[in-house]
Subunit: 192 residues, 2 copies
């Protein structure tokens, strides 16, 4: 998506060979108009799959999940929780996420009443790198007995294995911008 690639080029920052800092428009300060446009782009690709629910994970996925849900006719959004909460109790689905990049792990949780077994779930997130979060959400959907119709992310780090792993499972995977390489602070995009 041209507008997103341009925002990454102009406002993003490549750090080392793996980190892309996008806190000026995507995951700290949010460019509202760009997020609305991104949501429409995702909706156009997945409309025919008739998603009934968007699943994301707190906190950076929520904004794009919401604009996508709006563009799909105001379908509901569920954001899985990474942190314990006094009101998160009752029957629950959960998945342990090991982050290779951060070297830590956390439990991703979702109340069982949030996903119905008849739901056609579209996963939305800001980043796809090694795929840990996406596979965790896929596990929550499967625990609910629901169907995952695909996954859409703003930025895929195509040099990491998440996208390949999901596509190898036959999951329809869309990234609005795919980064091939980060070299000397420069962010290089994949063609096509």
């Amino acid at each position: 998506m041209k507008a997103l690639e341009e925002a990454i080029r102009r406002q993003g920052e490549g750090i080392g060979t793996e980190i892309v800092k996008v806190d000026r428009f995507l995951n700290h300060r949010l460019d509202t108009a760009l997020l609305v446009a991104m949501g429409r782009e995702i909706a156009a690709v997945f409309l025919s799959d008739q998603p009934s629910l968007i699943l994301t994970v707190e906190a950076s996925g929520i904004a794009l999940a919401l604009t996508t849900a709006q563009a799909l006719g105001n379908i509901p959004v569920v954001f899985a929780k990474k942190h314990a909460s006094s009101t998160l109790n009752g029957e629950m689905y959960s998945a342990t996420i090991r982050s290779f990049t951060k070297g830590n792990s956390y439990d991703m949780r979702c109340a069982a009443h949030c996903i119905d077994k008849k739901d056609r779930v579209l996963i939305v997130d800001d980043f796809l790198a090694n795929g840990e979060a996406a596979l965790g959400m896929l596990s929550l959907i499967r625990q609910a007995g629901a169907l995952c119709v695909g996954i859409a992310v703003a930025i895929e780090k195509a040099f990491q294995k998440g996208g390949r792993a999901l596509r190898a499972q036959g999951i329809k995977t869309l990234s609005l911008a795919a980064i091939r390489e980060i070299r000397d602070g420069e962010i290089l995009f994949q063609e096509g």
Copy 2:
């Protein structure tokens, strides 16, 4: 706001005398259409104050902040962070939030580049109870040298002191639903 009060009545849950569980439509599973309507309601009240930026805090405030920002002509949103992040560095504003209800404390942080001193900032959040989070965000705005034009929340627990404290400071404070009391599981709203 009638539609929100109805959602609270039908899908919310009063626990003890202080907790309102709204995870079926507001802070875990999101009712997208309701959030869009709530954003419009807030925008109508604050349009004349010409906000240039919405400030909220992760994670539950993000959805309402974004729909409010859309209704105000796609102004940007900043969500303050409660958790450390590998890319949250550089010059920073921060406030320590002591939660009396939860008995813990955390640092709320925001990169300095996120708020300009010329910004007219509207604070948006899901809940207003004792006001710790709101006062923390007010502190971030003041550290930036910017102006706070008001605060809007989905649900005010009017039996706790946050709303009174903000109004006593002369801050324009809007709650879309104000709860007077939670008694035997029943949620009672304030009139008007």
